[in-house]
Amino acid sequence: MALDELKIGGMGASRRRVEDNRFIRGKGNYVDDIVLPGMLHMEILRSPVAHARIKSIDTTAAWEVPGVRLVMTGETLAARNLAWMPTLSYDTQAVMATDKVRFQGQEVAAVIADDPYIAKDALSRIVVEYEQLPAIVNPEQAASPEAPLVRDDKVNQDSNKIFDWEIGDKESTDRAFAEADVVSTIDLHYPRSHPSPLETCGSIADYDRATGKLTVYMTTQAPHIIRAAVAMVAELPEHMIRIVSPDLGGGFGNKVPVYPGYVIAILASILTEHPVKWVEDRSSNLISTGFGRDVYLQGQLALRKDGKILGMRMHTISDHGAFYADAQPTKFKIGLMHSTFAAYDVPAAHLTSEGWYTNKAPGGVAYRCSFRVTEAMFFQERMMHAAANDLGMDQAEFRRINLVKDDQFPYRTAFGFLTDSGQYGKCLDIALDAIGYANFKEEQEEARKRGKLLGIGISTMTEPLGAGNSREYDIIGIKMFDSAELRVHMTGKAILRTGAKTQGQGHETTWAQIVAHELGIPAEDIVVEEGDTDTAPFGMGTYASRSTPVAGAAVAMVARKIRAKARKIAAHLLEVSEEDIEWELGRFYVRGNQERGVTIQDCALAAYSNVPDGLEPGLENNAYYDPPNLTWPFAAYVCKVEVDPETGVWDVLKFVAVDDCGVRINPMIVEGQIMGGLTEAYAMASMQYITFDEEGNCIGSNFMDYLLPTAWETPGYELHEVVTPCPHHPIGAKGIGECATVGGPAAFVNAVMNAIEHTGVRNVDMPLMPNRVYEAVQTGRDVSGAPPVKGD
């Protein structure tokens, strides 16, 4: 008898999470929980100013603090050719400042001591003399002819511009605009935001002189990329580097880059011959590590009177901070921004982009999104909203006309992406029905009589998740595939390792479910391990919602290899030829005689005790999976808000999310990802932003200035599902971790705009704080740009 898949924790089971058993007991193992014998502690001195020449650094008093083992400055690193390192976007980044500081929070010195209190004492005794220079805090200033050069360290860099880039077809797009009945325009700013996982970044570097081996416990989402980077930067042989990423307290893109602190701690361990722990405090995390967004989005739609989109133009101006350190595929200078409008049938499109250096922290990480697609989809849905209004059309109807229809797949977008599956219209209909769209106009009228403004906002989008394929996607030349290794023990229990790295997504639970689905081994019999480069197969790590699309596919493929070998063993055990063997979940049987069979566990035992002649013993294998395409989940988010015109405060009355991420491995975990993502969307729409004053001081350097929503503000969500299996993924799954963060913000903003646009307001840039909404309602004018902050 075939097994009941749900009972063994296979695909589709809302299996309770394995990792919870340690987390609910406080037995997680995060980097800061690890204590090694003889371990020292490092603290980093950061620049208090955004732009200055370093005139002198005096570390004498720091050395004199009892318990101090080492004080390092830029000179310490420069002497070993480590003062600069390459970034993931082929730029260079200072590990520790030597000549100048280029943003507030840049690393200037470090102290290594017996404990962190002593190290902090010593930091306060380092005297640095700065000659302050004018700071550039936005691309407009960076472009001014009088602007000081941020990167005067670079030969041939004679302006603050990093790149000009374009994609699409300018000629055909210009033609579309010439033929248009209506041209709709929008001009947006997506403010700088910080992923702020609750655990900050940190590491313990442990260099063993006796063996020559460097072990680094590190908060990283991509341990194998880090190993390659350390090999390049520190010029250590790769086999002598072991990166261990233990439990991660969230990542959201913040833990992809190589940060100076990691490199400094490695050198400190080599110099002191002790393990050296470095864990950021929250301010360091907020002011110096990878931010997201900070881009101006300008665009136009060419429209026919009947609502058909004829063409799309977009221009982006992005602020990358002092070093171009975006984590993104090599070919694309502004990530996958050109995935914008992928859900709509747009015949012609053209995107131009410019990137600028400023005196702000570097990063440009994909904050819970697949390389700038959050900006792309926010622009798309704000543009759609404005265009429907310009045409005088209903928001839902305008989207229905232009969404790619079910029978158009596979569909090639104007920018060259291939979307392959979806039921866009169905998702939208379910969402509209659930929110009560048909009666909304009456509800809105009724509320106005009470002095309240109701608004409804729609966001529909598909996004590219799960890079590669490796033909198009690489990071610093390393192709974006992923891997899995499965060992089945003789008792039928198993260990699975992958090149991905969970940081809360629950891989230990869901990967076992895929194996259970493929082999019929109960999920509870499979242990999952990730994050140790000495044991895990090579992989590109977890970000861009790529775990299930890529590593998850590798898990299915390696399980299938195991099943193919087990089939040979089954034929041997059942004394029939392999062609006469049939498979049902957990068991092989003889065709035509279902009673006569052997279980996968029988085959596992035989693999170690009774192997047929000519077959090698054991039951283990690995798989490297290079996906043929990205996966394209679809989401329809609809939000209903009530705005109080007297205060600008807005409340979410209802939020409906309809997600189609293909086949769901663990529905409970999928829904958890969606609710978490929606909350980050709500956060960005309502309160979460980082800005800078005129001198380049970071406003948002702690959780009192940088607001994150709590349980009190956060709305509830109503979730629905549609399942359109991914045609190329072995188990039909698509990425999901980031859909809600990507598609969500526009739903909130469109809803608030819908509530107040009768006043003539077209746009309020995020964050929609009450004072900004109030200003818009009262004046009837747009509120644009990052909230301004004046210096004293």
Partner: protein, 174 residues
């Protein structure tokens, strides 16, 4: 204990002041010599090696370091360890007995109230204090009681469900 890591310096430098405190942690009485400036979170994590208490923000902003101080939630990253002298501290490690999980722990697992797990100990202790004083809370009661604790993963909806699940279980048990 004079330093955070006992294995390195065996004695404090001559001019480092220390103070003797007695703190009951998870029911066990501990007497320690500590620097007066030592934070309670660091005493718990590094001194007593109870690493279930996490530090997320250093400024009372996130609640990851929440412990119970004489039964009331306190953010241990901004409490001096000397302030806990003569008091009882409960950490996540004190929630479960050897035989049985606390219903709050079970609730968090059952309702998928955690993802990365970093905020979970603080959340559970804040919830514990709520349920001690209000065994039958509404959703709003739960949201308000947890509003000093930040979670970046779950969006809170399942955390609220987890606490309500625990409340119901505890009411049924009593």
């Amino acid at each position: 204990m004079t330093s955070l890591y006992e294995e390195i310096p065996t004695a404090p430098a001559a001019d480092v002041p220390t103070r003797r405190v007695t703190i009951t942690v998870n029911g066990e009485k501990r007497t320690l010599d500590i620097e007066p400036r030592l934070l309670l979170a660091h005493l718990i994590r590094q001194g007593l090696q109870l690493t279930g208490t996490h530090v997320g923000c250093d400024t009372t902003g996130c609640g990851a370091c929440t412990v119970l101080l004489n039964g009331r939630p306190a953010k241990s990253c901004t409490v001096l360890a000397v302030q806990a002298d003569g008091r009882e501290v409960t950490t996540v490690e004190g929630l479960a007995s050897a035989q049985q999980l606390d219903p709050i722990q079970e609730g968090f697992k059952e309702e998928h109230g955690l993802q990365c797990g970093f905020c979970t100990p603080g959340m559970m202790l804040a919830a514990k204090a709520l349920l001690e004083r209000n065994p039958n809370p509404t959703e709003d009661d739960v949201r308000w009681a947890l509003s000093g604790n930040i979670c970046r993963c779950t969006g809170y909806q399942n955390i609220v469900k987890a606490v309500l699940w625990a409340a119901e279980t505890m009411r049924e048990e009593s």
